[in-house]
């Protein structure tokens, strides 16, 4: 099996796909770094010549004032306390929350690329993994070896997992490495709030707690990897079913973009939450953004994705082992 996976990796490398992916990321990261840099500058200008410590001190006083008010709900009080300790940490440790380091950039970058950019990159690698063998005719040589078909497909699937991991890893390394030039490489221990959940119109802050940024980022990258694997598995299935790589790309592209659009307009169509593409934005649950449809939670989205992924995996393997090849 190791030899089979090695074969698949060799073919992937020779097709220079991974190389292209790295180039795309290496091109995009400086672009976003610059955008982020501009934004920070803009904010600074708005604040005028005020020192950020003064601004932060004002915010802290503000929070303290609200805490001392008697009409405040218990839940809300708890949240404000956590918020207060976060702000105090910034002040004590001399961290400007508006001048983030490379880890913060990294975090924002993956949060924004989890539902479209990264799935697209995964798709570019995976789309022709099987279909190119079918359209190039090499599948005839591949399947007339003394190796069972499911083993050949499994080797391709493992190669897919390796490449997806490689993509996620290069996003991490490149976004950290490149943006650090501008923002500095510090900020791993910056405290962040997580544990928000939304019920109806209410933000539930019961479980909110502070985690250091490195832990937060690790969590988010885990989710990003999970999303990429599921998208990869579905693309893989299409690549088995269809001979044409263009068709595979077309279908995946259409559903990913449809997902991005749907997420903005389906709040009243409840059963749309069972589509895999509206569930891709897993990092939103960590940062506490509102879900597109009521009743969605991290567990729910991960389960929906898992069901889609497992179904895709089974369909791919069953079709591939039984299909007649012409």
């Amino acid at each position: 099996m190791i030899n089979l996976v090695r074969n698949e990796m060799l073919k992937l490398l020779r097709k220079k796909r991974l190389y292209v992916i790295v180039l795309i990321i290496a091109f995009l990261v400086p672009l976003f770094t610059y955008a982020q840099f501009k934004e920070i500058q803009d904010q600074r200008e708005k604040l005028g010549n005020q020192d950020w410590r003064t601004v932060l001190q004002q915010e802290i006083t503000d929070t303290q004032n609200r805490l001392s008010s008697s009409r405040i709900q218990d839940e809300w009080r708890k949240y404000l306390k956590i918020r207060l300790s976060q702000q105090q940490y910034y002040l004590e440790n001399d961290i400007d929350p508006r001048a983030p380091g490379a880890p913060t950039f990294m975090r924002i970058f993956v949060e924004n690329s989890i539902d479209l950019l990264l799935p697209l990159l995964v798709m570019v690698i995976v789309a022709d993994l099987v279909s190119s063998e079918a359209s190039g005719g090499t599948i005839k040589l591949l399947l007339t070896r003394p190796v069972k078909r499911w083993r050949i497909l499994l080797s391709k699937y493992l190669a897919m997992l390796l490449s997806v991991s490689f993509i996620v890893l290069s996003v991490a390394v490149l976004s950290y490495g490149i943006s650090g030039v501008v923002f500095g490489y510090g900020g791993w221990n910056m405290p962040l709030l997580t544990g928000f959940s939304v019920s109806g119109d209410e933000l539930i802050t019961d479980n909110v707690h502070i985690v250091p940024q490195w832990q937060y980022i690790l969590m988010e990258f885990g989710l990003v990897w999970y999303v990429c694997v599921i998208v990869g598995t579905l693309t893989f299935m299409l690549s088995v079913l269809l001979r044409s790589t263009a068709a595979v790309m077309g279908i995946m592209l259409a559903s990913l973009i449809a997902g991005a659009i749907l997420a903005n307009m389906v709040s009243s169509w409840e059963s749309a939450k069972y589509f895999f593409m509206v569930n891709l934005n897993l990092t939103n649950y960590v940062s506490g953004m509102a879900t597109p449809i009521e009743g969605m939670s991290l567990g729910f989205s991960m389960s929906v994705l898992a069901v889609w992924g497992i179904a895709g995996f089974i369909i791919a393997f069953v079709t591939f082992s039984k299909r007649d090849i012409y």
Partner: protein, 304 residues
């Protein structure tokens, strides 16, 4: 032919969408034999071959390679088989060497030294480290054969091996196939739609039409029956009259007469014509075209 068969195909059928594509094909290949699979395009040659190599599952029937059933014992059966189905499609973005290495790695029983052996055998040593996308069709064909020979198969299956080759390449391929059968005791199954090619390459031939084998025979027998003599003689009516006393004569186009080829009697016929005052200008033997052969064997059924 006392050895056990290298490839046995028995009662093979394939039904696709309710249509019977292959209707009970059976044949046997013995070691050291080049077996031709002759039929027009669309007769079911490639479908049959794809079933033998395991790309298509048959609706019914059994295929045994080296005594192993392809359906129940796929891995062992495939170990004895090397094949090129249609064109030798290799990875164009890899070098010849990498292609071979790729396929060799898929069978752990192939030692690394085998690569150099097959490369020398097919004569690709000079260009083996170039990318396949720079290869000519002949070189790809040779690389295709090299990959088929990697696992020291007992059976080699070549689907239209001379397709697209130039005359020199066709001759080279022919000699190479004969040499493999002779020296390595390989059974080779060659499919073709050209009778002339099968005639020069094969020991035995199966003629396939509309999904059935209509005849299996040695090439010599088949040709002996079907070979014709074309006569050019003057005056034509007299020649025809004299010849028809001896054998069946048909009048060909452009003023020729056609009789069966009968080697022992041919000089007598010629003598009779000359004595009868006919000037024989030309006598030549001619292979029937595949079309004629088909009409003959199927008794007037058309190819499609």
């Amino acid at each position: 032919m006392s050895q056990s068969p290298a490839l046995e195909v028995e009662n093979l059928t394939k039904r696709i969408k309710g249509k019977q594509i292959i209707k009970g094909v059976s044949f046997t290949l013995f070691p050291g034999e080049v077996f031709g699979f002759l039929g027009p395009n669309g007769a079911g040659k490639t479908t049959t071959i794809r079933m033998i190599v395991g790309l298509i599952s048959p609706t019914s029937g059994t295929i045994k390679i080296g005594g192993r059933n392809v359906r129940t014992d796929f891995t062992e059966a495939m170990r004895h088989l090397g094949c090129i189905v249609e064109n030798p499609e290799l990875y164009p973005f890899l070098t010849g060497w990498e292609n071979l290495e790729h396929f060799a790695k898929m069978d752990p029983s192939i030692p690394k030294s085998r690569l150099q052996e097959v490369i020398t055998l097919v004569g690709l040593s000079n260009r083996i480290h170039d990318r396949v996308s720079t290869y000519s069709l002949g070189m790809r064909q040779r690389l295709g054969i090299a990959q088929a020979l990697l696992g020291r198969p007992k059976v080699l299956i070549l689907d239209e091996p001379t397709n697209g080759l130039d005359p020199a390449g066709i001759r080279e391929m022919r000699e190479f196939i004969r040499q493999l059968a002779r020296e390595e005791n390989l059974s080779v199954l060659v499919s073709s739609h050209l009778l002339s090619e099968i005639q020069l390459m094969c020991d035995r031939v199966a003629i396939i039409s509309k999904g059935s084998v209509i005849r299996t025979d040695s090439v010599q027998n088949l040709l002996a029956e079907q070979e014709r003599v074309i006569w050019k003689a003057e005056p034509l009516p007299l020649a025809k009259q004299l010849l028809s006393e001896e054998t069946e004569v048909t009048e060909g186009a452009d003023g020729t007469l056609i009789t069966l080829y009968n080697e022992p009697l041919l000089p007598d016929w010629n003598e009779k014509l000359v004595k009868g005052g006919v000037k024989v200008k030309e006598m030549r033997t001619q292979l029937p075209s595949l079309e004629d052969l088909f009409l003959e064997v199927t008794g007037g059924e058309s190819i499609d």
